[in-house]
């Protein structure tokens, strides 16, 4: 009988300890929460603080960095240096490349029909050709004396600026729009082409342009393109119907045509010049509505390559003047079929302004 009593005592003891133990656990939990809770909100606050408004500020600050006045913002294509044929440090460096490497390294596209692409039926194996490529050859001829002294690097849309900044290429000639945001990171030449964002969709589609007919539609754009930035900004500002889905985003605008044909996207937004190239490859799609922006293409270079910028601007002046083998000839050869017989809507300003101060 003794053990039974002891058992009872033990059990009541346990009961007592159970209460104490439970309290201890509660205390420990409370302490843990007290210690950890400040971490969570501070982490959350921090991320929203820097990720939300902070990021927007960053963009704005950078835009201001590229364009400091409203006039600049209205016409970023004027932020370039006056033309000059003088060689400077950058050009000297390119010219002094040894032997086989004495070439201009240029970032281009190989997927833009009539701009920079490889024609499988051209007979020659790997030759890139198109409107952009003609300009590259012209620049190479002017700087190095040989139009073929070029090393082409194919660059996806979102790699254009990093490639320049890392020095992987001397310049990018790749249907690149001059804008304030980019001016903060790279230097641009004077404009060499005029275009604007446009909507591309199947002919049978109900989409009528850049308007409410895009409601609920999947809009494809290239990662890092002006089209993509514009879509995101407009949707945030309420200028684009909020039910439009800004997906998919792809490495190259041409990949959008693939997605469109496979039914993975309902519309494409890209530069009118490129949209026309896409329409030229597929008779069942067409441009919808008018261009809803005005943009200029420029040659992008490193921010401190002043001599190269001036030199390219000089090349552009000569290129425009040269009617036999210059801008107009190139337009007629590559673009008149897909864009317009008349090149006037695509021509850059006849007498460009060079307003860049620094």
């Amino acid at each position: 009988m003794r053990w039974r009593m002891r058992g009872r005592g033990l059990r009541t003891g346990l009961k007592g300890w159970g209460g104490v133990g439970a309290m201890a656990v509660v205390c420990a939990l409370a302490l843990t929460f007290a210690l950890l809770l400040p971490l969570f909100p501070s982490g959350g606050d921090g991320s929203t603080g820097t990720g939300g408004p902070g990021l927007a500020h960053g963009v704005q600050a950078r835009a201001e960095g590229g364009c400091t006045t409203p006039e600049m913002e209205a016409a970023p294509e004027k932020q370039t240096l006056p033309p000059s044929s003088a060689d400077g440090a950058t050009i000297e460096k390119i010219k002094s490349r040894p032997g086989e490497k004495r070439k201009l390294i240029v970032g281009v596209d190989q997927n833009s029909y009539r701009w920079g692409y490889r024609d499988p039926n051209s007979g020659e194996d790997a030759v890139l050709e198109g409107f952009d490529i003609d300009l590259v050859h012209r620049i190479a001829k002017d700087i190095l004396g040989d139009p073929d002294a070029v090393q082409f690097k194919a660059i996806p849309t979102d790699q254009r600026i990093p490639a320049i900044q890392d020095g992987r290429v001397d310049m990018v000639v790749r249907t690149m729009t001059i804008n304030c945001k980019r001016l903060a990171d790279v230097a641009f030449s004077a404009p060499y082409f005029k275009t604007g964002q446009q909507v591309l969709a199947p002919k049978s589609s109900t989409i009528s342009g850049y308007d409410d007919s895009l409601a609920g539609q999947r809009i494809c754009s290239a990662k890092g393109s002006t089209a993509n930035a514009k879509l995101v900004d407009d949707q945030k500002a309420g200028d684009l119907v909020s039910s439009a889905k800004l997906k998919p985003t792809v490495p190259n605008q041409l990949d959008c045509l693939v997605r469109l044909q496979l039914g993975e996207a309902d519309a494409v937004v890209t530069d009118g010049a490129l949209a026309a190239s896409q329409a030229a490859q597929d008779p069942t799609v067409e441009l919808k509505g008018e261009p809803f922006t005005t943009e200029y293409y420029g040659v992008a270079m490193k921010k401190d390559a002043d001599d190269l910028v001036r030199r390219v601007n000089q090349v552009l002046v000569d290129y425009r003047k040269d009617t036999a083998n210059g801008w107009q000839a190139s337009y007629d050869r590559w673009l008149s079929a897909t864009l317009d017989e008349d090149s006037s809507t695509s021509e850059p300003p006849a007498s460009p302004e060079y307003l860049r101060k620094s």
Partner: protein
């Protein structure tokens, strides 16, 4: 703490025994009163008049307890003991035979699976991967060539696609409907026509001279790299797991059977020794026969299994391991070739940063994959156990060295901006890296064929060593048990 006992003594006796004369019987009292007291208590309790048995009723006995009792009773006489011994011996021998038959049948099935099922499936899965990767490489080479693809690259692509489709059919037929392998096969079966559709569109547009053909090919390549090849690799891994599982089912010693065999032999020895002590007779024919058959089965089991195990281990060490290493090397060379092509397709578009240095992403991958290939070939050379197995691997090592040399030259051309020259050095007709890749692939294929034969030989030997064991053990055990019973029966007959 001593309360309960005390208190239990304190309360008055139960109401059932209140009558004074009942406790305690007084010696002075009349005998009648004592008699009435003796009968009085029950009368008071229930009022029933039937006689109460002297001991409380026993609980119902179990059959087992009764059996034990009966055995105990039987064990008191010599014939009874003999019967028990005979029964136990027969049971032991039969149990030994049954467990042997069961365990050897299990191992034989597993060994058979290794040879005829899981290893071929593992190889088939590796071939599916190879076919898919090679098809993709052939397609992208066709695109790289710039113009229209050559009949050779088209043939290669078609052959690879056919091989992959065939492999998938085989894999589907051999996997259980609900297994994860079956799900992977179904996924690949869904993706293959999708991929083929994209490549066909790419071809059509390429013929029309539109760059969107290249965009389709990039999309197809993405599908292959990001969905199909990982799925194929997964299938290969799953089939390999199954192969390993079959090996580990086939090779462990059948300890239960061996233990029972030893026990049966010990029982038989003891019974004969007892017999000798009691009767001074040395030999009892039945028991000797039982001992002999049990010994034969036990020896057969141990020796046969050891031989089979050794052969299976050999087939693993010199077959499966070599095959795995060679498959991995082949996959590495395919990946390297794919990366080499993509280096030229992407034209420096993608870079990776490693330790602060920037590299072309695809060329970096190429380097990594070539290292894997080099390691795999070195390992395969080590594992190869004869000249015929070593020779193609050694040749492949030579091809790889040449490949690296030519690749470096091609990269130099590309770095110098001569894209066309670089292209010629990679996919050109003569002196291109493509030749080296093809040689590596052909040599690895040769080595694989050789190792497959070695594997089949060794695993077949292992399977043969297990032949007849199951049936033999069962028959011999029955004979042995019969012998034990007869032997004991002979002794028993002396008591009649």
């Amino acid at each position: 703490m001593t309360h309960p006992p005390k208190s239990s003594a304190a309360p008055p006796p139960p109401t059932g025994v209140p009558t004074m004369p009942a406790v305690p019987p007084q010696p002075s009292g009349p005998s009648a009163s004592a008699a009435s007291a003796a009968y009085g208590a029950p009368a008071h309790n229930g009022g029933a008049s039937r006689p109460v048995p002297p001991v409380p009723a026993e609980p119902r006995r179990t059959a087992f307890a009764e059996g034990v009792d009966r055995l105990r009773a039987a064990a008191t006489t010599e014939p009874g003991r003999l019967r028990i011994i005979g029964a136990v011996l027969a049971l032991l021998v039969v149990a030994f035979g049954a467990v042997t038959a069961w365990q050897t049948a299990d191992r034989r099935t597993a060994a058979d699976d290794v040879l005829h099922n899981s290893q071929p499936l593992s190889s088939a899965a590796a071939d599916i991967y190879r076919s898919l990767a090679d098809a993709n490489t052939a397609a992208s080479s066709g695109f790289l060539a710039g113009g229209q693809e050559t009949p050779a690259s088209r043939d290669r692509y078609e052959k690879d696609i056919d091989a992959a489709a065939e492999g998938l059919v085989q894999a589907a037929a051999n996997s259980d409907p609900d297994s994860p392998a079956a799900a992977t096969v179904a996924e690949l079966n869904r993706l293959l026509p999708e991929y083929k559709g994209l490549v066909e569109r790419a071809r059509t547009y390429n013929r029309q001279g539109f760059p969107v053909g290249g965009a389709y090919l990039r999309y197809a390549n993405e599908k292959m790299q990001q969905e199909m090849l990982p799925a194929a690799e997964d299938l290969y891994k799953k089939e390999n797991q199954r192969l390993s599982a079959d090996y580990s089912d086939a090779t462990p010693y059948p300890w239960a059977a061996i233990g029972l065999g030893v026990l049966a032999l010990a029982g038989l020895a003891w019974a004969q020794h007892r017999n000798y002590r009691r009767t001074n007779r040395v030999l009892n024919h039945g028991l000797v026969a039982a001992t002999a058959t049990t010994t034969v089965v036990l020896l057969w089991l141990v020796v046969g299994h050891t031989v089979a195990r050794a052969a299976l281990d050999d087939s693993y060490d010199h077959g499966v391991r070599s095959l795995n290493v060679l498959h991995d090397a082949r996959i590495a060379s395919l990946k390297a070739r794919g990366s080499e092509n993509l280096t030229l397709v992407a034209r420096g578009a993608e870079t990776v940063e490693v330790d602060g240095e920037t590299f072309d992403a695809y060329d970096y991958d190429f380097g990594q994959e070539m290292n894997t290939l080099g390691r795999g070939l070195a390992l395969a050379e080590n594992l190869a156990d004869d000249k015929a197995g070593e020779q193609p691997v050694t040749s492949a090592v030579g091809n790889m060295a040449e490949w690296k040399k030519r690749h470096a030259a091609a990269r130099d051309e590309d770095e110098n901006g001569d894209y066309q020259a670089a292209l010629d050095r990679v996919i050109g007709a003569e002196g291109a890296t493509g030749e080296c890749f093809d040689s590596v692939d052909a040599n690895l294929a040769k080595a694989l064929t050789h190792e497959k034969a070695e594997f089949a030989q060794a695993a077949g030997d292992g399977l043969d060593a297990m032949t007849g064991m199951t049936v033999g053990a069962a028959v011999l055990a029955v004979l042995g048990a019969a012998g034990a019973v007869l032997g004991i029966g002979r002794r028993l007959s002396e008591y009649r």
